[in-house]
Symmetry: C2
Subunit: 136 residues, 2 copies
């Protein structure tokens, strides 16, 4: 399962995609539209900013706006920011590789072999889905 945080982030990005190149949006409005706790959303939008998906204007009538075109943002990269690896086991992750604690021989591990296939499939399909997709 995906975390709520990640789902909220996706919803926020959909909002901002709908408003792409039409100025900024207030956190309060995104929160209301997406049914997301406002203070929690603030953190999430900040994360999205630090990850380079959105920009912000501060001060009176400030707000958030999408930097990249909706079509150029895919689900895989958003997922990784909030929920980390797409892989089901750390040893097959490219971006978040870690040796499994219980592993004694990674080379001959058939779990690694099979879960590597799963990861590759998941990665491909999540990469195909972009934020223009969500608007259609």
């Amino acid at each position: 399962m995906m975390s709520k945080k990640c789902k909220y982030a996706i919803k926020a990005l959909i909002c901002l995609s709908e408003n792409y190149q039409q100025g900024n949006m207030f956190t309060a409005d995104i929160a209301k539209k997406g049914n997301i706790p406002k203070k929690f959303l603030e953190q999430i939008l900040l994360d999205l900013k630090h990850a380079g998906f959105v920009g912000s204007h501060q001060g009176y009538r400030g707000g958030y706006y999408l930097i990249r075109a909706p079509k150029e943002i895919n689900l895989a990269e958003v997922y990784r920011v909030f929920d980390g690896a797409i892989a089901l086991v750390p040893c097959v992750s490219v971006n978040y590789y870690e040796k499994c604690e219980d592993c004694t021989d990674e080379i001959s591990c058939t779990i690694k072999r099979e879960f590597s296939k799963i990861k590759e499939q998941s990665r491909l399909i999540m990469k195909e889905i972009n934020f223009k997709t969500f608007l259609e």
Copy 2:
């Protein structure tokens, strides 16, 4: 990411698959071979028993054995026992359906639509992987 519990279960099932139709195995031996905390493994094997994957003999020289043929046990069903839904959002799960708390209109939800595709792909690939696969 998959839980350790689920990974331990898979490792235990691989052990038992290797020993299929050759009598039972002791928890202690599976624990040693798989590098799994023994007491934790006891719980897991019990879960596998209740789920119908393994059987047990009690008492002196008792132990666990695989009931179904390795080829007839697929990854999707094992995953569901320990980590629940394969789906990334509850609203697209067949076996663990739940309405998303933040959802206002499930019919027109494009997140639901896209994540339904992801789930279907994941389900298919995890269903294809069985425990004979792991032995090869």
